[in-house]
Symmetry: C2
Subunit: 314 residues, 2 copies
């Protein structure tokens, strides 16, 4: 929303953001303690200690290769152990290779899987399971840590982050689930709640469809390459399905990062969501004093929280 389109003015605006905080002066009461100088989230990240970051876990990272490039996804086995394992089986048995993106519905989802309409001719799931209990929510455990946001939420009693994923908990904190934020990866299913196995997956490309929470199993999120999905032409059929095969984007291959030669890996670090830096970045976005903002929000919605990613330094 920065008006200045020009790099020079843009730089100025960013500089002003820093200057603003320094210049802020509680003139009415000289004895009052000055508020801490405001640091933008960019400043905070730039100064963050290495310990507040973690590399993506290659064992739970997927690379989807499209003709336009690579989409990097991280799975969340702590929240969905059965589905994460099943999807990795599908990936390793080359289930997705040669399949396609079948659907792109504006402000909703992109979805991929087997385009074959005749179920008898559908691609074999190999040793992966076809049906098992959904993991719409799971019992809270040591595998589902939770850094709670102090903010309210329209859809859940508690919201926050665990292991780098936006998550929610019920009122008594016994069940937890991942939330449908932008970039969330979910398991498509039919009316049968046990019918989702990971052979059809979707990614949220619009405003968070939070009504899907606890109705679908979310298995992780896109960490890099969202723009390769979000800019796909929308399908013109019902629900954004492509009407012609040639409109579909082919999936060249999906691989588990750990199976990819190191030289071909996309090595990324993500900010730990239980770190002081994450808390500081989120607060800097909740209450912006950046020289541009005239009315700081004072709150942040879970799907507006930034999940910073950067190339690994090694």
């Amino acid at each position: 929303m920065m008006k200045p389109l020009k790099p020079a003015l843009l730089a100025l605006a960013l500089a002003a953001a820093t200057q603003f905080a320094v210049a802020a002066d509680p003139a009415e009461d000289p004895a009052a303690e000055k508020p801490a100088p405001y640091k933008s989230w960019m400043d905070i990240l730039a100064e963050s200690p290495a310990a507040d970051w973690r590399p993506l876990d290659p064992a739970n990272t997927l690379y989807m290769e499209l003709p336009t490039g690579r989409v990097v996804m991280e799975l969340a086995p702590g929240y969905v152990p059965l589905h994460a394992a099943n999807i990795k089986t599908l990936v390793r048995e080359k289930y997705f290779d040669g399949l396609a993106i079948l659907r792109s519905q504006d402000n909703y989802v992109v979805q991929w899987g087997d385009p074959e309409e005749d179920e008898k001719k559908s691609k074999s799931l190999g040793t992966a399971k076809a049906n098992f209990d959904p993991e719409f929510s799971v019992a809270v455990s040591k595998d589902t840590p939770f850094t709670r946001l102090p903010d309210t939420d329209v859809y859940a009693p508690q919201v926050g982050f665990g292991n780098g994923f936006a998550a929610a908990r019920d009122g008594d904190g016994k069940q937890t689930w991942l939330t449908h934020c932008y970039g969330a990866v979910g398991v498509a299913r039919g009316n049968d709640p046990t019918g989702g196995n990971g052979s059809g997956l979707y990614v949220v490309i619009g405003h968070a469809p939070r009504h899907l929470d606890r109705n679908v199993t979310i298995v992780g999120r896109v960490v890099q390459g969202m723009e390769l999905l979000s800019t796909l032409p929308r399908g013109t059929g019902p629900l954004g399905f492509y009407e012609k095969p040639e409109q579909r984007t082919p999936i060249k291959i999906i691989r588990v990062a750990a199976d990819v030669p190191v030289a071909e890996q996309t090595r990324l670090d993500v900010l730990r969501t239980d770190s002081p830096t994450f808390a500081a970045v989120t607060e800097a976005r909740r209450n912006r004093r950046d020289g541009w903002t005239v009315a700081p929000a004072g709150a942040i919605e879970v799907c507006n929280v930034q999940l910073p990613v950067r190339p690994s330094k090694d």
Copy 2:
């Protein structure tokens, strides 16, 4: 999220949605009154009376013609009289014709305006004003009706709809403002809050950046053609600005619909947001009993509320 990719199965799923409600039976207490049969939002819209719809007002509708087609936007003069008038002046004096989309930032905004970097060479605003008071919020009046949602909101004390636009009110109901939902059209500005005049406009193409509410003047929303904006290649410069002129999408022309020959108009009806049908559709989405949903949300976030649009029947 419907798993079935096949039209046949898809139809089945929709049929099941209706059957489900009829089959629902409060068996535990035969004397209990049965809940009303569930109707999906699609059923509700199909049965809605004509009086619950209104045509877009041609005097406050803009057509932006891109090489890929037409984007239809409706202005909200009740909330932003000064900016709506200024933008129509800019449009009628051909300010935007030949300019370009300058920025596409993933999960954020698309923005257009004058690409000229040298302000001395910038396109003249003609008789439009260059600076005036922002309309970040306005006093509640007869021009800002409000059908309040019963739901909570993370960012505002009250949320609802007025004249077809998502809106919020402060705690005592004296000030109101339009909210940054998907498709909202806003006025770009620099650090000076009075610097926005409508010569640079943006559209939300991702998860609602509600922290911008009351920091920018929202002038309306895109009613048709969002996919022409949301699928634009993302810019690779800071904030998603395009780095090379040839990456920009040219704007052929922007016109006020009233100035366009009737035969060339895009005649659309929008559901009145103060109508019973709108309330019913919203409730059907808040509490889905459609045969697919296993955990109805029980609430709806203002930016997840659907604003139905259909071709006019005349």
